[in-house]
């Protein structure tokens, strides 16, 4: 109790005099960057999730070919989860004598639970978000349906037995979907009008869905309930299986953001260690004096520990507040980049801030504190007597343990954890070794340089342990900044390459074989950039190695390839967006042989291998083929691609149609209307809107990456300042001594700058090596991206390292150089 009281009073007094400012500032900034990144990752992650859920129009979607009972809606109501129904079916819609097969979406009030329905009053116009669904008696057909049938706003459309009035033009639905079955024009109507159409009859192909949305905890709980209570035929979908493109983007973003926040944690740890060392160094005399005046070791230790706990508490509160305000400011400043309101941050990063503050202090300050308690009392008479050196295990054990725990906490993946920690340990050993070599060489360097450089380099040599520590800190800081840069560039390049500006924005399906050539001519004449044209044949997998697939287990509950009809194709050429990962692609000699190539998703789902024999039912005919190759498909190329591709000459004679994709300039909308009239049987699928949504998700992920990167840069600079700060007292005294002995301010300043230049160059060199190696592993093994060596990293490491360290060093030491010598000497006298 006495220790607590004294600790609090001494803390208040010491704080007034500014003694504890450095430690508190370092820890506060550490916590601020940690929680700031935490809030940012949290909110942007939630925004990305939210954006992705818009593709589902819900957080979770329950689908079934059978009507879904009211039970799940009732349960959702009880749990405070929003729910609404959506029913889809394909039917022919008539206007006067024109007809068009249409994908009818009948929805109930509340739809969509996520995202927006966009409508307009003219076909192919820019849509505006609308709240609500079509009122009873009204339908919202899309532009293609209107173009195909010649209807317009105000016209009447006959849908089954009902006649409904066109209220608006449907521009887009959030859950328009990307599967080819849904490529027919769309029409949105009120679910209450559906019975009047009499379209739903026994045997009708109808897809029933119930959409659910709510806050994350409730949805997670409800999803668990649904998984237990849903019928076997009912399929549950959430963001994770909404779309391969979005899944890939969010997973990459999540991994990268975790890595970035992890880097901030490590930089914070270094800053705290530096500040704690300085704090302990400054307290040696006071502790020795307190012991002389009668304080026991336990008492002085208690006072120091209690003070640090109080500092941790204040730093955690202040740091969390600063972190929150910083990310809030950043997000507000860049508000225009977001289409939607960002979801509010949850409080998890606050807890993280508190725990991290305590953990960092335990790991990085406790060993020094324990050493503090061992300061011999005799130090009051002999200042050269310090604390006995700490055991290596005690000095580094807690720090290593805390770092390991924090790394694992962030990555939560054993392999990534091992890669990262081993790389880090290797890097630290490397820079520490190189630091020792520099210190060894410093003596030789001193001989041939001027007084300022000699003084600066001598400083590095004399503060042997401190120099090595700073090289490790600077080197690590610069390395992670460089590595982030390498990885960020690779991620961005990869995204840019995967989503180029002239990406196809329309799919054309159901092109009759005899209209194929005129259709392509028509597209080209209107300036469209067409991609490959592939035949599209419907078929169903019936047996694997002659064993029927009825009831065959597929991996996961996402895609059940065995249960549904597939689109098949045949082609001689392997597209540039396909790569064979097993087996081999066929050559001319193989044409006509019963060979099939599968996409990895299909192969993984059904556990089939190269050499397996698959049997398909194509138009009532049984076709057997051997798996010749497995392909990895880049689906985000938006080129026509198929899970199942046959060799030429196997199914060529089967009745089918063709499909292609094309890039149309935005001005091509009128040409599309012409095309719809000229080729009425061709289904036009406008993927512009879907692409815009995917791009938006990717943009947000890139923005998140950059924002976190800014925070990490800030954290890195803090470490540099803290490192320089740790030797400030000594520098102040030396500067005063040199100036007293006649050195000009300029010479002292040059000496300081020379020291930091050498320190920065060496740190930068080592950081470049480390960043290149670590960047290679992160890019290729963690993010699965191709890695390209970039020499600019080395230039950036060396120049950036020197500039950064010199600038930080100058900032932190300029007051040392500027202080009048007398003031310093009196203070130390």
């Amino acid at each position: 109790m006495r220790a607590l009281s004294l600790a609090v009073r001494m803390l208040a007094r010491e704080w007034r005099s500014g003694e504890l400012g450095v430690l508190l500032l370092a820890l506060t900034i550490a916590v601020a960057s940690l929680t700031g990144v935490g809030f940012l990752v949290n909110r942007i992650g939630a925004a990305v999730d939210l954006q992705a859920t818009e593709v589902l129009a819900a957080d979770v979607r329950l689908g079934s070919p059978q009507p879904i009972s009211q039970a799940s809606l009732d349960e959702a109501g009880r749990r405070g989860v929003l729910a609404t129904r959506s029913t889809r079916l394909l039917s022919v819609v008539f206007h006067d004598d024109q007809s068009q097969l249409t994908n009818i979406h009948a929805v109930s009030a509340g739809y969509p639970l996520r995202g927006h329905v966009l409508i307009a009053d003219e076909p192919f116009a820019r849509g505006e978000a609308v709240a609500g669904i079509p009122p009873r008696g009204e339908v919202w057909p899309d532009s293609r349906l209107l173009a195909a049938t010649g209807a317009q706003v105000g016209s009447s459309l006959a849908i089954g037995a009902a006649t409904l009035r066109v209220g608006h033009v449907l521009i887009s639905l959030p859950d328009q979907g990307g599967t080819f079955a849904e490529l027919a024009p769309s029409l949105l109507m009120n679910l209450q009008d559906l019975p009047a159409t009499q379209l739903v009859q026994p045997g009708s192909r109808v897809s029933y869905s119930v959409l659910f949305a709510g806050d994350r905890t409730r949805i997670d709980d409800f999803k668990s309930w649904l998984l237990l209570n849903k019928k076997p035929a009912e399929r549950l979908r959430d963001i994770r299986d909404a779309s391969p493109q979005i899944k890939s983007a969010t997973e990459r973003a999540g991994r990268f953001l975790s890595l970035a926040s992890l880097v901030s944690v490590l930089l914070c740890a270094i800053a705290v260690a530096m500040s704690a060392r300085r704090y302990v160094h400054r307290r040696l005399d006071v502790v020795a004096l307190m012991k002389t005046l009668g304080a026991t070791s336990a008492f002085t230790l208690s006072v120091s520990v209690l003070q640090l706990i109080a500092i941790a508490f204040v730093a955690a509160v202040a740091g969390s507040a600063v972190g929150f305000l910083a990310q809030e400011w950043l997000l507000r400043a860049l508000k225009g980049l977001f289409n939607t309101q960002l979801p509010p941050a949850n409080l998890l990063p606050l807890g993280l801030g508190f725990i991290a503050a305590i953990a960092l202090l335990v790991g990085f300050a406790l060993p020094s504190l324990l050493q503090l308690a061992r300061v011999p009392t005799i130090r009051v008479l002999r200042r050269d007597v310090g604390a006995p050196p700490t055991l290596v295990l005690l000095a580094f054990g807690p720090a290593v343990a805390v770092i390991a725990l924090l790394i694992y906490w962030v990555v939560r993946d054993v392999r990534l954890f091992l890669d990262f920690t081993l790389g880090l340990a290797g890097f630290i050993a490397l820079v520490a070794g190189a630091g020792w070599i520099l210190v060894h060489l410093a003596g030789r360097l001193r001989g041939g340089v001027g007084i300022a450089w000699r003084y600066g380099v001598a400083n590095l040599s004399r503060r042997r342990a401190e120099s090595v520590l700073q090289i490790v800190a600077f080197g690590t800081g610069i390395m992670v900044l460089l590595m982030l840069g390498i990885v960020r560039n690779h991620v961005q390049d990869s995204w840019r390459h995967s989503l180029p500006e002239d990406l196809p924005n329309y799919f054309f399906v159901n092109i009759p074989p005899d209209e194929r050539a005129p259709f392509i001519e028509f597209l080209k004449a209107r300036g469209a950039q067409t991609s490959r044209v592939l035949p599209m044949i419907r078929g169903r997998l019936t047996a694997i190695n002659d064993r029927p697939v009825e009831g065959a287990q597929s991996a996961g509950d996402g895609e059940n390839f065995a249960a549904r009809e597939q689109n098949l194709t045949w082609t001689a050429e392997l597209g540039a967006d396909n790569s064979v990962v097993a087996g081999r692609w066929w050559n001319r000699e193989d044409f006509g042989k019963p060979l099939v190539s599968l996409a990895t998703e299909f192969q993984e789902s059904l556990h089939v291998r190269v050499g397996d024999r698959l049997t398909f039912d194509i138009g009532g005919e049984s076709v057997a083929a051997t798996v010749a190759s497995i392909r990895k498909v880049k689906w985000d190329s938006f080129q026509p691609n198929f899970f199942i591709v046959f060799a030429p000459g196997v199914i060529d004679n089967t009745a089918g149609t063709y499909m292609t994709s094309a890039y149309f300039r935005p001005a091509g909308a009128i040409a599309l209307a012409q095309l719809a009239r000229r080729f009425p049987s061709v289904s036009i699928f406008d993927i512009d809107d879907l692409l815009a949504r995917v791009r938006s998700v990717v943009d947000k992920a890139v923005f998140a990456v950059q924002s976190v990167f800014v925070f990490t840069v800030f954290a890195g600079l803090t470490v540099l300042l803290a490192a320089v700060q740790s030797s400030r007292d000594e520098r102040r005294f030396e500067s005063a001594m040199l100036r007293t002995l006649g050195a000009s301010r300029k010479v002292v300043l040059q000496g300081v700058l020379a020291e930091f230049t050498v320190l920065g160059l060496l740190s930068g060199l080592l950081a470049s090596v480390g960043a290149s190696i670590a960047g290679y592993f992160v890019a290729t093994r963690v993010l699965a991206l191709p890695y390209g060596f970039d020499p600019s990293v080395w230039a950036l490491g060396l120049i950036g390292g020197a500039v950064l360290v010199v600038f930080s060093g100058w900032l932190a030491t300029r007051s040392v150089v500027n202080q009048p010598p007398l003031a310093t000497l009196r203070a130390n006298g």
Binding site: R13, S17, A295, V380
Partner: protein, 235 residues
Amino acid sequence: MSHNPMPSAQAQITRESVLKTDHLTKQVNSPEGPLTIVQDVSLDIAAGESVAVVGPSGAGKSTLLALLAGLDAPTSGKIWLAGADLSALDEDGRARLRAQRVGFVFQAFHLVPALTALENVMLPLELAGRTDARSGALAALERVGLAMRKGHYPRQLSGGEQQRIALARAFVTSPAVLFADEPTGNLDTATGERVGALLFELNAHSQTTLVLVTHERDLASRCQRTLQMEAGRLL
């Protein structure tokens, strides 16, 4: 037994012993081998007595002071301070004894830079668990004539003022023994004389036993007894 007291004219050792050593020796390891800093010192200081330890630099005066105050442990020999056998106490035991019975004045003042003058004087009272720390410290500052400087930090005070604050801190707990290591060594002659005078005035007022290590002949001559030290031995 090399007990070589040099009683001054006023020496009247009639009261009970408060500080006593028996064949005290301190050796340290140096690159050249073991080095004896204090050798076979036996002495006996009575309560209320003032003793000066004088000698050339490197004679072992400060080391002897550190041993007597329990700041360092001897290689051999025994020390009794205020009735307690220091060799029977661990470091924390010696610290508790100092808190109750010992005061210090150092050549370099050793004020805590983060604390004000008043807070520095309060420190030993707080360490001793006294609830009247503030009033006691204020009274002590009054006695050294620096009550008006109570809110000043050490860096805002002159050397003489800092040492007067240190004197207030040393006497505030009314210690049985006060150890002073070159208390005027960092001060100019005039200031040193004033501080020395104050030290003896406070000592006389509080009836404290004073053990003073000094180079200053004048200061030593004010003590009742002077111990001459050379090459680690008392002459």
